[in-house]
Amino acid sequence: MFAYAGKILYVNLTTGIVRTEPLSEQMAKDYIGGIGLGIRLLFDNSKPGTDAYDPDNPIIYLTGPLSGTMGPTGGNSYAVVSKSPATGGIGNAEAHGFFGPDLKRAGYDAVVITGKAPKLSYLWLDDDKVEIRNAESLKNATVKETDDKIRAELGDFYIRVSAIGEAGEKLCRFAAIINDEFRAIGRSGMGGVMGSKNLKAVAVRGTHDVNVANLPGFKDFVKMIYERMKGPSTKKYKTLGTPENVLVLNSLSALATRNWTNATFEGADKVSGEYFNEHYVKKIVGCATCGMRCDHIGVVPEGPYKGSTSRLEFECLWSMGPLCGIDRLDAIIEAMRIVNEYGMDGISIGVVVAFAMDLYEHGIITKEQTDGIDLKFGNAEALIAEIHKIGKREGWLGNILAEGVAKAAEMIGGDAYKYACHIKGLELPGYDLRTLKTAALGFSVSFRGACHLRNGAYSPDVKGKVNRFKIEKGRGKMITEESYMYNIIDSLIVCKFSRGTYYDGWKDLTNYYTLATGIPITPEEMIRDGDRIENLARLFNIREGKGTRKYDDVPYKIKHFPVPDEGPAKGACVNDKEMAVGLDDYYASRGWTVDGIPTVERLQQVGLGDLAYIAENAMKAAQEAKPHVAQEIKPQGGN
């Protein structure tokens, strides 16, 4: 096999038993790598109903077929898949930087980790040598300390480390795994799963060659992509960066502010991409093998957080800025820095703190319960103090908030659920779904919970391609088709910032794949892979009891708190009727039943006939749950 390592490593942390299995060419072609392969391996290596924090829940590290080559962005990536402690369904995230290529060079397409180490440990993959090493001296160490100490202990500066911080060890449900200081396997709580296994880090050194099938052809292709990366399709990332979105979304009344109380932020100018670049950005750096550079490294020049340094992107800037009513970039940079140290999802943490601020402002929690922190919107010191508390699970509130907004709302009780902005248990990212309704539909059906990166459904709204204040027929197809692309992007594990550089779309991606692997694949086959991955993820969620229609919904606040701000968005919110129209349309476009269950025919079409029993059982259960309603099953073929 070319480009692929051709090998899957299985590690049991309880028994210490390690074994490898070959990766078959069929498996490679059907699931590509990254999250596609990961979701299939999760399916095949887990029992239904296993708790995310049970030792039997596997956590799977994956490379993509391009990892380890000089393919821009595809060369530097890895992914992690497991059952999510936040949603109880598919958990997945991808990260770039420098870790992924070493994992490939060490010789692995996937590392399936099960069990629980008796003591805090880290996994050391030195090419073919696999060792579970003691990490007790790293207890509660920050991600960066862990990285530095492991490399010092093993005596090689170029060893790459993917680690959790204190939050992961303490089973925070939105804990992240972080490599290279600030590159995060961010969403869906993968860091918590690591913590539940007493696994502090995975360290890797890979020295094997990575060979592609057609070196001259591959060289010309990647040269072309590197050249395109100098052009207009990546300009945003190389200039203002994603924080450019602050003013764009604000002008559209789509900048969720104060926990979705407002849709515009009066302090937007002070946290804009323009302001950030002018006053804080010291240098723009990038990952290994990439021709873009997007990491805007902010350094605080003065004041209480002087010298604080961190990379900042729109999502985290928004969640710890406007969403908390905070207009101080110095505090946001410091907040981001400590979030990376604790190892937490930079989106979820902001939504969690904003949720707590909302409860505090509404008198649902009191100053005694916050241990004296004045958790008012706009209080930057309170944000930072609360992040520390959550990271350490300190105090009544800190401990509860580390569970994420969905579980925290249940624990607090009363009206708290009305302020918990999540889908399926995962906190919403930075788009106001009341004024971006394709996004409302797209986020609601995403298999990892609230997510802008499963189908990019915010894009037609923001770009003005549709009436964003409405959900109507046709949006389902739009979302379905985009999901193919996003699934393939995360299976090849190319960076989403690079998506504009594939001018010829599927033709470019299939060409890229075949030049590297030597495995012929047509655009139709690759689209079908994307469809297969979506159906597989849906089936996993169904198997775990979280995958049907009632879980595809938007948060209470999005439905019951109309936008109060003056302007064209005033009064906007999402209603159940339009959600129903949208879901019917979406399920029909996928060839799923009205309950959102893939039909047997559909599963056979995408080559998942072996798992059709899961859908059949779910359909039976749905029938029994509503015996008086005639079932309308729409077995329409998708692509």
């Binding site: 380890g68 080559t69 000089m70 060369g75 420098f98 290529p101 060079r105 500066f157 170029y158 200081e181 600030f182 020295t207 094997h208 060659d209 990575v210 060979n211 592609v212 070196l215 060289k219 040269k223 590197y226 990366m229 100098k230 010291k282 240098k283 723009i284 750096v285 990038g286 990952c287 290994a288 093998t289 990439c290 021709g291 873009m292 550079r293 990491d295 490294i297 350094v299 340094t309 990379r311």
Partner: protein
């Protein structure tokens, strides 16, 4: 005969280099026909997001690596300044690695002998592959004299606070 001060070598501009390692991959692709930074003649070093630098052989005058070799396996080409390794004489002792102050001597993982920058120019561009591929244009193939000129210019610009555009020779 090329004068020593006219010898060209690859150098990274510390303000532009972001540690992206594209140079490593380009080097191993062209010289070793594979993707493997441990077989690259140039290595990127990232001490932190703001501290990056790619380093390779600077083709020193009176090179310490050559002097250090106990087996006379290393020699410097007169014209180019390139350090050549006699693959039969080198036994991989690594004495030259300790002698090089830049860490530009590397041990080849398969051959178990040392290797370093060979200025892999081609006829078309006259520039090594790493320089051609560097996405940040941080790498340049220069002589000591042009490098000195560049920094002298910069120093004077800084002293007089001249904007870069104005400093261009008229």
């Amino acid at each position: 005969m090329v004068r020593p001060q006219d010898r060209k070598f690859v150098t990274a501009d510390p303000e532009k280099c972001i540690g992206c390692c594209v140079c490593e991959y380009a080097c191993s692709m062209v010289n070793e026909k594979t993707f493997n930074p441990t077989k690259s003649r140039i290595r990127a070093m990232r001490l932190g997001p703001l501290i990056n630098m790619a380093i390779t052989c600077r083709h020193c005058e009176d090179p310490a690596c050559v002097a250090a070799c106990p087996r006379n396996a290393l020699s410097q080409e007169d014209n180019s300044g390139i350090i050549r390794v006699d693959e039969n004489a080198c036994n991989g002792c690594g004495w030259c690695i300790s002698a090089c102050q830049f860490g530009a001597m590397n041990m080849h993982p398969d051959k178990k002998i040392v290797f370093t920058c060979n200025s892999c120019t081609d006829n078309e561009t006259k520039e090594p592959q790493c320089v051609q591929w560097c996405p940040e244009e941080a790498l340049t193939y220069v002589t000591a004299e042009t490098l000195a000129q560049k920094y002298r210019q910069k120093a004077v610009q800084n002293l007089f606070q001249v904007a870069e555009a104005e400093a261009k020779p008229k």
